[in-house]
């Protein structure tokens, strides 16, 4: 083989990443590669100089890619975003914003929403210290607490957020004694786990390397115009599809018939194909399995072997030299050579990274020009390993360090062998190495010194690259680089044999699927948002082909998104448009927009994602029927808000004239039994069974009459309210409407406080002995509401029921007058300014929220 007779001058420095005082030789731009040193004789200057492919451009036919296949039947959800994970508050004295994981928020959300999971085990442990029944009987033991009275004290309202809220002695004692146990164990144990999980999710959000290499592959068919796309489909990406595609000369690719599919047991992460010695092979990597198929000339896939990777596979590559040979690497740091006939041969194993310490378990392996030599890569570098040599030794091909003038924090994201099998292998010794900043081409005969470096500046992680054959003889080869965010860059790679590889012309960017938005008709906001999210779905695979028969070079490019959509685009090579012609801007053709509309129609027919999780709507206040009824008055909350805004105590005059009320009604026995039954079930960890039973009972015939009776009583008394009070709501399974569409998240609470004639509401008929209770209640009022937003009817229902026994005529207003509930689950902004000030207090006092709470 020829080695370039003269290489570009390069400074060689050894050292760590980001060595700053080295003059970076790659500070030059893409035109640096266009510069050629006059090799032979000065006379040749004039002839050589203008040899520059400035006009080299692949012109896209449409402004954005088009959908190739109708959307799948499974709905898609973008999943966790930065908003879900990061602390949203501000750090006032920072030079620049930083990412801070919002563990507190997540933890408190978890405690609110899944208190049963968080506290039930503890509850079980402390069972003997609690008394669940027989509220009135006094226990001799000091260590036994009556649950019922405790709950009564809590009154259904957490006094968190308000430092002046009233605490009963019982509560105080319980807090002081139980606090360290409950608080510590939950916060330390759960908090640590949660933090770990959040950190993992965050890392994944920043870089999801599972799909490195890409999950989309093009298997050429018998004729150049026909081929197969192989990709995963289905919500879990566990169905491997084989879609035959025809590439008519000059036209858009057409999907032929329905795809064939193979159901797999895990999500497909990487699909690789190669045709070696006339034999087409297909390798698939899942999280813990790798599988190999042979694709017949007719395009049918026959399974050859499946391999289980215990620690998790991170990369698979097919040998370009020997049919059916693969390199597999696992998280444990092992690299194996795998052939269906001979099984596995461990080639390399090192749990440590190559150059310096990096925690990532990501490993990669590929082949080299020598069929028995592999490259082994991790985040810090790439090594050449001889499979026949003594284990563990090898030569570093690429080092994350000063040799390649790497930046600080630079890591290898992808390595790929660019040579391929063929009668005339081109670039048989070149390896592509991608980091988050740059792209390097390294020749395995000259390790450590990159032959070419290009700062790609992609705004997302470049995880796939495809080198295509030259579109016409003597043309530079297109090298496609794809980022996770759908960003695409195309480089023109020239130089073979005796000349060093270089960029022929400046690289270009290609449209990504979010550029296609303009091809779709305008929709109502919700659908538009859905479409936008769908188009923005991260890319997980890239395939490209140049059908050789076309008269004019055409590049067909396919992209697979995480939502399972395959988009394609079509590019023409503009060889030399002349110095003054400008690239014509592509526009949408009627066919393209029609295609998009069809696709959109199918997309909107797919039902939206069911909510991942919905808040439970049951509240112990409703179940604990003995709770005191309140009458709601107008002046109280107002005074309270004013007091809270000013940060002072609530005084008598703030809440107006002392109210009078009748004696507290006796607790109803029914719901109380329900409570203890439920608590008991919760302690024993059989909450789910209880709930099932409960649901069954509530819908069953035995339960119904009682409910109905209550309901008729209610509706007869407050007929105007019955429209709102739907009791079926109270027993229906938990459902929170805001999960259905994430764009509806920052919604104000259901009812804004109406400022209507209710002044005399509690001025009338509140007995003096109830005044204090009422005041206490008022003190906690605006901050209460552990009930999820949007499910107010059962709560308001019960409380108003009790309130209106004595004062039927005011209830309607009372129900409408409930102060705006703070949405604890989402922390969404509440419309009125008072509540937002409450919010501010609440967030300052987040620690208070971690107060021991009973496990449900």
């Amino acid at each position: 083989m020829d080695f370039p007779s003269s290489l570009q001058p390069t400074l060689f420095m050894t050292g760590p990443l980001g060595l700053s005082n080295v003059p970076d030789m790659s500070f030059m731009c893409s035109w640096r590669d266009a510069l050629t040193l006059p090799e032979s004789l000065p006379e040749n200057f004039k002839n050589e100089a203008p040899h520059l492919a400035t006009g080299l451009l692949w012109e896209p036919e449409t402004p954005g890619p088009l959908p190739l296949l109708p959307p799948g039947p499974d709905p898609w959800d973008p999943g966790v975003t930065a908003q879900d994970l990061l602390f949203r508050g501000a750090f006032p004295f920072r030079r620049r914003p930083q990412a801070v994981l919002d563990v507190t928020e997540q933890l408190s959300r978890f405690l609110w929403d899944h208190g049963d999971i968080a506290f039930a085990p503890l509850g079980k442990l402390m069972l003997e210290n609690f008394k669940l029944e027989g509220a009135r009987s006094r226990s001799k033991k000091k260590t036994v607490v009556s649950v019922k009275s405790l709950l009564q004290d809590l009154g259904g309202h957490q006094p968190w957020g308000c430092p002046w809220a009233f605490l009963s002695y019982r509560q105080r004692r319980f807090s002081i004694i139980g606090g360290p146990v409950l608080g510590k164990s939950v916060a330390s144990l759960l908090g640590e786990l949660l933090h770990e999980e959040l950190a993992m999710r965050w890392e994944q959000l920043l870089l999801d390397d599972a799909f490195t290499g890409g999950a989309l592959a093009w298997v050429p068919g018998r004729t150049p115009q026909v081929g197969q796309l192989v990709y995963p489909a289905g919500g879990a990406l566990d169905t491997l599809c084989f879609q035959e595609v025809r590439l008519p000369p000059g036209g858009h690719p057409q999907a032929l018939g329905d795809p064939g599919h193979i159901q797999l047991r895990g999500p497909v992460r990487q699909v690789v194909t190669r045709t070696v010695q006339g034999e087409s092979l297909l390798a698939v990597r899942s999280d813990y399995h790798c599988a190999l198929w042979k694709v017949s000339k007719q395009g049918r896939a026959a399974p050859l072997q499946v391999l289980q990777v215990g620690k998790g596979a991170t990369g698979i590559s097919l040998s370009p030299h020997l049919p059916g040979e693969l390199a597999v690497c696992s998280r444990s740091g092992a690299v194996c050579l795998w052939t269906p006939q001979d099984g596995l041969q461990q080639v390399y194993k090192d749990p440590e990274t190559l150059v310096f310490c990096d925690p990532s378990p990501w490993r990669w392996a590929d082949f080299t020009a020598h069929p028995r030599v592999l490259t082994v890569g991790d985040r810090t570098g790439v090594k050449i390993v001889d499979t026949q040599g003594p284990p563990g030794c090898g030569l570093l091909l690429f080092r994350g360090g000063a040799e390649a003038s790497c930046r600080r924090g630079e890591r290898v994201l992808l390595t790929q062998y660019l040579g391929e099998c063929g009668p005339e292998p081109q670039l048989p010794t070149l390896h592509l190495i991608c980091t988050q900043f740059s792209l390097y081409l390294v020749d395995e005969r000259l390790p450590l010194v990159p032959m070419l470096k290009w700062e790609h500046n992609l705004p997302s992680a470049p995880l796939w690259a495809r080198l295509l054959p030259p579109p016409c003889p003597g043309c530079p080869r297109p090298l496609l680089l794809g980022g996770q965010g759908g960003h695409l860059q195309l480089l023109h790679l020239a130089g073979e044999g005796a000349s060093a590889p270089r960029l022929a012309g400046p690289p270009q960017s290609l449209p990504s699927s979010s550029d296609s938005l303009s091809a779709f008709p305008l929709l109502e906001p919700k659908s538009q948002w859905r479409l936008q999210e769908r188009l923005k779905a991260p890319t997980i695979g890239l395939a490209a082909t140049i059908p050789s028969s076309a008269s004019e070079p055409v590049l067909s490019l396919f992209q697979l998104s995480a939502a399972g959509d395959v988009f394609h685009q079509h590019l023409h090579l503009q060889a030399d448009p002349g110095p003054h012609s400008r690239a014509p801007t592509a526009s949408w053709t009627p066919q393209a927009t029609a295609c998009c509309s069809r696709w959109l129609k199918a997309l909107l027919d797919v039902p939206p994602t069911p909510p991942v999780w919905a808040a439970p709507t049951f509240s112990h206040r409703r179940l604990l029927g003995c709770m005191e009824q309140r009458k709601v008055e107008q002046k109280g909350p107002e005074g309270l808000r004013a007091a809270m805004a000013a940060g002072r105590l609530l005084r008598q005059k703030d809440v107006g004239s002392p109210p009078s009320a009748g004696p507290p009604p006796a607790p109803e026995p029914g719901p109380e039994d329900e409570l203890s039954a439920r608590l008991e079930a919760a302690w024993q960890g059989r909450m789910a069974a209880w709930w099932e039973r409960q649901q069954g009972r509530s819908s069953g015939p035995g339960r119904q009459p009682k409910r109905r009776k209550r309901r008729t009583q209610l509706s007869s008394t407050f007929s105007s309210l019955s429209g709102r009070l739907d009791l079926s709501d109270a027993t229906s399974p938990p459902h929170s409407p805001d999960r259905a569409s994430p764009e509806a998240r920052p919604r104000p609470p259901v009812t804004p406080p109406s400022q209507e004639s209710t002044q005399e509401l509690w001025a009338r008929g509140v007995p003096s002995e109830r005044q204090q209770t009422l005041r206490d209640y008022m003190a906690r009022l605006p901050l209460r509401g552990d009930a999820p937003r949007g499910v107010r009817s059962p709560l308001s229902g019960t409380s108003s029921v009790r309130a209106t026994r004595s004062r039927p005529q005011t209830l309607q207003d009372g129900a409408a007058e409930l102060p705006p509930r703070r949405n604890t689950r989402r922390g969404a902004a509440v419309s009125s300014s008072q509540t937002s000030s409450v919010r501010a207090t609440a967030s300052r006092q987040q620690a208070l929220r971690k107060k021991p709470r009973m496990g449900f």
Binding site: M1, P4, S6, P9, T10, F12, M13, V22, P23, C29, A34, L35, L41, P42, A49, A82, L86, F87, G89, A90, P92, R94, R95, R96, P97, Q98, L101, V103, T104, A187, H195, A199, W202, L206, L207, G278, E279, P320, P323, D342, D358, H370, P371, R372, Q388, R407, G409, P423, P428, T429, Q436, L446, P447, P459, Q489, P506, S509, H580, R582, A583
Partner: protein, 450 residues
């Protein structure tokens, strides 16, 4: 708890120079992290409008460049110059380099740009932010060189060479060395032009004397210029090549040898195959003893066993008297054919077929077996599959015959490649195939007893 998590995520150092990239807990930096934070951060120190517009402008320029819209990029560039007035001193200091990078790229490709525009731009940029003077001068000179304007390039380099700013830092020193080396290269070009002229002149001519005098001057200057750089570790192929050529011309063989030996064997340098090739070619020109040549190529063989010089190496080893050289000769041939790019090298196959026979006749079956043992499980699939038998026969019958012979010797008569070729009926090659069959029968290592 938020403080704890902050610790995990916060950047390792408060390095202000790296505004754009942020680090995660693993020490990896993510250029796209800022985007994620941007969706969340509501407070904190907000970016000023000025910074916002310049940042937006920068991304517009980059986008236009990647879409080859030079005209548009130039228009945006016009607005981007405002960054030179940024109140943030870090940004202001980093600005000239960015402007140079983008500006030179636009001017390099812009259809209406010409050398004059580029010169004006480069000259201005050199004096904005003194720290970039050397870099820009060097690139400017390269640009001129590329456009064939040697004199302008030379003038530029001479200016840059004498430029000093503050304490001479190591990076400045390297850059100055590089500038001097390029100057030396330019002088080499003039020198080699003169040499060409000289070769047309008669030795008795009066002009000859002055011309040769000129050349001597040049050579002396050039050696000064080139010397410093090629001591620094790096890949300096064009400089070393031209320097050695000049030294050789003036009969300084020892100097040339020293330069080349240092370039090839200094451990601080990367293992550049060209360094060994240059040394080998020099020694060959010098008519160095075979031993010497073999020792040079032995090292090249270790670095690049697939190089085309390996066939020459094999010839040298074959001619050598030493037994271990003969053994190495076989190893080298096998080594060449291991590589994907060399599978169609008919010379290598021819050599191997011939040498295998020769080795086996010399009763060195053990050598062949030693080489074959590590290859017997993959060479049959790699070289001797029926796919290649068909393909080779169709494309290159001579190659197929050589390969068939090797396959027959190594794998026996039963091997698919050999069977396929031996079954072919070809008028021209009938005799050859018959010979192959005979050789295989005689030499095959599969059943050596028969």
């Amino acid at each position: 708890m938020s403080d704890f998590s902050e610790e995990l995520i916060r950047p390792k150092t408060e390095d202000d120079q790296e505004e754009s990239c942020l680090f995660s807990g693993t020490g990896m930096s993510f250029p796209w992290l800022q985007k994620h934070i941007g969706t969340v951060a509501t407070g904190g120190k907000k970016e000023k409008d000025f910074a916002q517009t310049t940042n937006a402008c920068l991304s517009f320029i980059q986008e236009a460049l990647l879409k080859h819209q030079w005209q548009q990029a130039a228009e945006f560039m016009h607005s981007y110059f405002q960054i030179l007035e940024d109140s943030d001193s870090h940004k202001r200091q980093a600005a000239p380099e960015i402007i140079w990078k983008l500006g030179s790229e636009i001017l390099f490709y812009h259809p209406k740009s010409n050398v004059e525009t580029f010169n004006t731009f480069a000259d201005r940029m050199k004096n904005i932010g003194v720290l970039n003077y050397l870099k820009i001068s060097l690139q400017h000179a390269l640009y001129l060189l590329h456009h064939g304007m040697l004199e302008d390039a030379n003038r530029n380099l001479s200016h840059a060479e004498t430029w000093r700013y503050g304490e001479k830092s190591s990076s400045q020193e390297v850059l100055i060395n590089l500038i001097q080396a390029y100057k030396g290269l330019l002088q080499y070009y003039t020198w080699s032009k003169k040499k060409m002229e000289l070769s047309t002149l008669d030795e008795d001519d009066y002009a000859y004397n002055t011309a040769s005098q000129n050349m001597l001057n040049h050579s002396w200057k050039t050696s000064v210029n080139l010397c410093a750089l090629i001591q620094t570790p790096g890949v300096w192929d064009p400089f070393v090549k031209s320097y050695v050529e000049m030294l050789e011309f003036y009969g300084d063989q020892d100097g040339a040898r020293e330069v080349l030996t240092n370039y090839a064997y200094d451990e601080k340098f990367p293992s550049n195959p060209n360094a060994h090739i240059y040394l080998y070619n020099f020694l060959k020109r010098e008519k160095a003893p075979r031993e010497k040549l073999i020792s040079v190529l032995k090292i090249l063989y270790q670095i690049v066993p697939s190089h085309k010089l390996m066939l020459e190496f094999h010839r040298l080893l074959r001619k050598s008297e030493k037994e271990d050289h003969h053994k190495l000769g076989l190893e080298v041939l096998f080594g060449v054919l291991d590589f994907a790019g060399c599978t169609k090298n008919i010379t290598a196959w021819k050599y191997l077929a011939k040498y295998l026979r020769q080795t086996l006749m010399g009763n060195h079956l053990a050598w062949v077996q030693e080489e074959w043992n590590s290859r017997k499980n993959w060479w049959p699939g790699f070289h001797f599959s029926s796919f290649w038998a068909k393909g080779d026969w169709k494309e290159d019958k001579a190659l197929a015959c050589e390969k068939a012979l090797v396959a027959g010797i190594l794998l026996g008569k039963g091997c698919r490649y050999f069977r396929f070729i031996s079954k072919q009926d070809d008028e021209v090659l009938r005799k050859k195939i018959k010979q192959i069959k005979k050789s295989v029968k005689k030499h095959s290592i599969v059943n050596p007893g028969l």
